[in-house]
C-alpha cells in the first residue's frame, strides 16, 4: 500500500515551481544581458559622402585597410585607412579615373567586391555600375566594369581593362599561385582574368538572376560558388570547366524569403558570404536566408568535399523569437584564420510581409557575433557602440587584419548633422570604418 503524504508532495511541487521560475528568470536575464551588452568599437570617418557600400572592405597584409564605397548615380570611391596615420584617405574617384565624368554617360557608381591581394601586396578589385545608373541615362553608354589594380608601393592605380562590354563583377577571388582573378558578372557569367596576359575569359553562366555575392578560391586553384537552391558549384582549374557538385549548404526553406509580394528563388537560397581560411584549408560561409547559418566547407574531405553546419549567426534576439523573421544575411562577414574566429555583423531589421527591407536604415541596435572555431561556440559580443555613446547601425562589410583587429563598414551615428548621409529616425548617420579590437 502506498503511503499518502499530501504535505510532502505540495512541498515538492512548490520547490519545483520555484526552481522553474528561477531558471526562467535567470534565462531571461541572461538573454536580456546578452541583448543589452555593449561591444565598444571605434569609428573613423571617410572623407567622402558615399551613402552605401557592400562587401568592399579588405585589411591587407601590410596593415592598411581598403574600402570601396558607393554613391549610386555618381561615382564609387576607393579609400585606404592607414592605422599609423589613423586616417582614411581617398585613393580614387572611379568615374574620374575611368574618364566617365562630363560625358553624359552612365558611370562606375559601384564596387561590390572585397578587394583581393596578390603575393606582392598588390590590391585588386573590380568596378561596376550594375543598376547604379543614372537610370535615366542610356544603358548602353556605360562601357563596362574594369579589372583594377592598386600598387601600394608605387601608390599607383591601374586600369587593367574591361571585364566585358557593359558588365562588371559582383564577387571577386584570386588564385595567387596562378595569378588569376575570378568574378561573376551582373548577368551571371563566370570570368577569369589572367593577370599576366591580361586576357579575360568567360566560362559560362553560373548564377541565377540574384548573383552569388561571394566566391572563394581554394589552395589548389579551384573556385567555389553557390547556386540556388543551396547547391555548390565548382570551377575545376585543371579541366577549366565548371561542374555541379553534390554539396549542399544548410538550407531552411521555412524562413521568410526576401519579399512575400512576389517570393522567388533569389539570394536567400544561396550563401551570402564566404571566406577561405588559408591555414586550415577550409572555407567558412554564412547562408543568406535560412537563418544565417554558419558552415564550414572542406574541399579536401572526401571525393567532393564536405559541408558542415555550425551555428546560427543571426542577431541573438531572433534565436529566442520567431525564426521565420530572421532577416537575410549581411556581407559583414570575416574570418580570422590566425586566431580561429569568425565575425559577423548581422542585420537587426525585422521583416515586413508587405515590403522589401534592407539592412541599412534599421534603427535597432546592431550586434557583433563571433564564432570561436576552437571551442565551436557562438558568442554575442554585444551591441556595437562607441565609447562616447554613438550607435552603430547596419553594416555590410568586414575584414580581419593580421593583428586580429576587426574592421567593419557600416552606418554610425554622427554628431554633426551636416556630416550625415542618412537619417535613421532622428539620428544622423554616415558610413564609417568601424574598428573592433578583440581583448
Amino acid at each position: 500500500m502506498k503511503e499518502i503524504c499530501p504535505g510532502k508532495n505540495i512541498f515538492r511541487m512548490k520547490s519545483l515551481t520555484v526552481f522553474v521560475l528561477l531558471f526562467l528568470f535567470f534565462s531571461i536575464q541572461n538573454v536580456l544581458a546578452q541583448e543589452n551588452k555593449i561591444c565598444i568599437v571605434e569609428t573613423r570617418e571617410y572623407p567622402g559622402r558615399d551613402p552605401v557600400m557592400w562587401d568592399g572592405l579588405y585589411a591587407a597584409s601590410d596593415g592598411k585597410v581598403y574600402s570601396a564605397l558607393i554613391n549610386e548615380g555618381e561615382s564609387a570611391h576607393f579609400y585606404v585607412y592607414d592605422p599609423k596615420a589613423d586616417k582614411n584617405i581617398l585613393l580614387c574617384d572611379m568615374a574620374d579615373f575611368l574618364g566617365e565624368r562630363g560625358k553624359g554617360i552612365r558611370s562606375t557608381g559601384k564596387i561590390h567586391n572585397k578587394p583581393v591581394e596578390d603575393n606582392d601586396g598588390n590590391i585588386y578589385f573590380c568596378s561596376m555600375n550594375n543598376g547604379s545608373g543614372p537610370n535615366n541615362f542610356d544603358y548602353t553608354s556605360w562601357k563596362g566594369g574594369h579589372w583594377m589594380k592598386y600598387d601600394p608601393k608605387a601608390n599607383k592605380m591601374e586600369d587593367m581593362g574591361l571585364v566585358d562590354q557593359g558588365i562588371g563583377c559582383y564577387p571577386l577571388a584570386i588564385d595567387k599561385n596562378r595569378n588569376f582573378l575570378y568574378g561573376i558578372g551582373f548577368t551571371g557569367y563566370f570570368y577569369r582574368f589572367d593577370l599576366k596576359s591580361r586576357v579575360t575569359k568567360n566560362f559560362g553562366r553560373v548564377s541565377n538572376w540574384d548573383i552569388c555575392r561571394d566566391i572563394f578560391c581554394d589552395d589548389e586553384g579551384n573556385v567555389f560558388m553557390s547556386f540556388p537552391t543551396a547547391q555548390v558549384i565548382k570551377y575545376d582549374v585543371r579541366k577549366e570547366r565548371i561542374y555541379d557538385t553534390p554539396l549542399l549548404t544548410p538550407y531552411d526553406p521555412s524562413i521568410f524569403p526576401t519579399q512575400l509580394r512576389n517570393p522567388m528563388i533569389d539570394r536567400t537560397n544561396i550563401w551570402r558570404a564566404v571566406e577561405w581560411d588559408p591555414i586550415d584549408k577550409v572555407a567558412y560561409g554564412v547562408t543568406c536566408g535560412s537563418g544565417s547559418i554558419l558552415f564550414r566547407l572542406d574541399p579536401h574531405d572526401g571525393p567532393d568535399g564536405k559541408v558542415t553546419q555550425l551555428v546560427k549567426m543571426c542577431d541573438s534576439k531572433f534565436l529566442e523569437g520567431d525564426p521565420k523573421a530572421i532577416p537575410y544575411s549581411t556581407l559583414a562577414f570575416a574570418v580570422d584564420s590566425r586566431n580561429k574566429k569568425v565575425y559577423f555583423a548581422p542585420s537587426a531589421r525585422g521583416f515586413s510581409i508587405q515590403s522589401y527591407e534592407e539592412t541599412y536604415g534599421s534603427r535597432e541596435g546592431h550586434h557583433l557575433i563571433m564564432y570561436d572555431i576552437k571551442s565551436d561556440k557562438r558568442v554575442d559580443l554585444g551591441i556595437m557602440q562607441t565609447a562616447d555613446g554613438r550607435k552603430i547601425f547596419g553594416c555590410e562589410a568586414a575584414s580581419v587584419a593580421a593583428d586580429g583587429t576587426v574592421y567593419i563598414c557600416g552606418q554610425a551615428e554622427v554628431k554633426d548633422r551636416k556630416a550625415a548621409t542618412r537619417m535613421i529616425g532622428d539620428t544622423p548617420t554616415a558610413l564609417q570604418l568601424i574598428i573592433y579590437k578583440p581583448e
Binding site: T187, F203, G204, W209, P246, T258, Q259, N262
Partner: protein, 428 residues
C-alpha cells in the same frame, strides 16, 4: 474628433506608404518580365536532375524539331553532343544518349517519311577559335583569320550524318555516359561540320550545308549516297557579329515544290533545284545592315527559317532582320528589325498565325529577347526576357537561345544555349 489636418496627414501617409512599398517591393526584380501571363512560360531540365541529366557544359540546345507524332527532338552542343526528346505525353525531357566524337548538332535535325530522325553533327560552334596575331609571311588579316578557322577544323575529321530510329530506341533509358543508338551514314565533307539540314517534302532526300567551307550537299535516303553540290558562297566574308565565324547561311528550307532555299554570295537568296541539281541565284537579297559610306564587301546571311501552312517562308538574318518570302511569286518582303542588336537567332510560326522570334547576339549584357510578329495587320510585339518562375521549385531566366520549333498543340519550344541549358516552353 478628426480634424482636416489629421485627415490630410493620414491621406499623405497612406500615399507615401503605397509609393514606398511599391518601389521597394519590386526593386529586387531587376529584369522585369514583359509577358503578363507568366504561367505561359515554363522550362524543363534536360533529364532527371542529378540522375541522368545531360551533363552541364554539354547542354547548349542548338537543334530542335517537332516530329509528326508530336515528340520534340533536340540536339546539343558542348563538350559532347547529345540527342534528347521531350514527349508531351510524359511532360519530360529524356536524353537519348551522346554521339561520341562530336561536339555540336547545329540546326541539323530532320525527320524522314518513316519517322526516322537524321542528325548532322559537327564541332561545337561556340568553342573558341584560337586567333593568331601574326599571319604567315605577309598574310593580310582576312587570310590569317581564314587559316585560323581552317586550323581549328583541321584536327576534326568531319561531321557525320546519323540516323536515329525512334521506334527501335525511344524506350531505352540512357544514363549520361551512354551512347545514342544511331546508324552512321557517313561524312559529307572532311574537316567540316554539318551546319544546317533540311529534308524534301517527300521525306527521302536530305540537304545540308557544311562549315567552314560552305558546301551544299544532298543525301538520298534511298540510295544512301552523298552528293557534294559545291560552295553556296564563293567569297569568304566575316560580317559578324561573331569575329571568329565565317559568314555562311545557317539554315535551309524546302518550299512545297521541293526547291531548297538559303542565302549565298552577296546575301542573295539562292535555291537548289532538285531537277537540275544545281544552285540557282535569285534576284532577291536577304535584308541586312550596311554602312554605304564605308568600303565593304561583306554581307549578311540567313540564320533561321520557318514556313507557315500556306507555304510562306519566314527568315531571320545575322543582322537581325525578319523577312517573308513567297516562293511561288518569288517575292521577298523585308519586315524589319525588332532591336538594335544584330542576329535573329531563331523563329517559329505559331498555330495562331504569329511568327515568334528570338533576337539578340551572343552577349552577356544584352541577351536574347523574345518577340512576336503578327502578319495581319503586320506588327511586332515585345515579349521580353523569357523567365520561368516556379519558385520555390525552380526559377530561371533564359538569356541565350539558338533554336525554336512549334509543337502540334501550338506550344513554342525554345532551346536555351548556355553552359547549363533548359528546354523552354511558351504557350501563346
Amino acid at each position: 474628433m478628426v480634424t482636416n489636418r489629421t485627415k490630410t496627414t493620414i491621406t499623405l501617409s497612406i500615399i507615401i506608404g503605397i509609393l514606398i512599398s511599391t518601389s521597394y517591393g519590386y526593386s529586387q526584380d531587376w529584369a522585369k518580365p514583359v509577358i503578363i501571363n507568366q504561367q505561359r512560360v515554363d522550362l524543363r531540365d534536360l533529364g532527371y536532375p542529378m540522375v541522368n541529366e545531360i551533363p552541364v557544359n554539354s547542354t547548349a540546345i542548338t537543334s530542335l524539331i517537332t516530329a509528326r507524332d508530336g515528340v520534340i527532338y533536340g540536339g546539343t552542343s558542348g563538350d559532347e553532343s547529345y540527342l534528347f526528346l521531350f514527349d508531351p505525353k510524359i511532360n519530360k525531357v529524356r536524353h537519348l544518349g551522346k554521339i561520341p566524337g562530336h561536339t555540336g548538332i547545329h540546326h541539323s535535325l530532320v525527320e524522314d517519311k518513316d519517322g526516322n530522325i537524321y542528325i548532322g553533327t559537327g564541332k561545337n560552334q561556340f568553342e573558341e577559335v584560337a586567333l593568331t596575331k601574326w599571319g604567315e609571311g605577309d598574310d593580310k588579316f582576312d587570310i590569317t583569320l581564314w587559316k585560323d578557322i581552317k586550323k581549328h577544323y583541321s584536327t576534326y575529321q568531319g561531321g557525320h550524318l546519323y540516323c536515329y530510329r525512334p521506334v527501335k530506341s525511344n524506350q531505352n533509358v540512357k544514363l549520361a555516359d551512354m551512347n545514342c543508338e544511331v546508324e552512321d551514314l557517313g561524312m559529307p565533307l572532311a574537316n567540316n561540320s554539318i551546319y544546317a539540314l533540311t529534308i524534301n517534302p517527300n521525306g527521302d532526300e536530305i540537304y545540308g550545308l557544311t562549315y567552314p567551307d560552305g558546301h551544299f550537299f544532298v543525301y538520298s535516303t534511298t540510295l544512301k549516297k552523298f552528293t557534294d553540290v559545291g560552295e553556296v558562297d564563293r567569297r569568304k566574308v566575316y560580317h559578324g557579329p561573331e569575329r571568329q565565324w565565317r559568314t555562311l547561311p545557317r539554315a535551309l528550307i524546302c518550299d512545297d515544290s521541293g526547291r531548297v532555299f538559303t542565302s549565298g554570295t552577296d546575301g542573295i537568296l539562292v535555291y537548289y533545284d532538285p531537277k537540275t541539281k544545281k544552285i540557282v541565284p535569285t534576284e532577291l537579297i536577304v535584308p541586312g545592315d550596311y554602312y554605304y559610306l564605308q568600303f565593304f564587301n561583306d554581307y549578311t546571311a540567313v540564320e533561321y527559317f520557318a514556313k507557315d501552312p500556306c507555304g510562306i517562308i519566314y527568315g531571320g538574318t545575322t543582322d537581325g532582320y525578319l523577312f517573308s518570302f513567297d516562293p511561288k511569286a518569288m517575292q521577298l518582303n523585308n519586315i524589319g528589325k525588332v532591336r538594335e542588336s544584330r542576329r535573329l537567332r531563331c523563329l517559329a510560326v505559331g498555330k495562331d498565325g504569329k511568327v515568334y522570334l528570338m533576337a539578340g547576339e551572343i552577349s552577356t549584357t544584352r541577351p536574347c529577347q523574345f518577340y512576336s510578329y503578327s502578319p495581319d495587320p503586320g506588327k511586332f510585339e515585345t515579349l521580353g526576357l523569357l523567365i520561368a518562375d516556379r519558385s520555390p521549385y525552380y526559377y530561371w531566366r533564359g538569356q541565350q537561345f539558338d533554336c525554336m520549333t512549334t509543337g502540334l498543340d501550338g506550344t513554342i519550344y525554345l532551346g536555351e544555349s548556355e553552359r547549363k541549358s533548359h528546354l523552354f516552353l511558351y504557350i501563346p
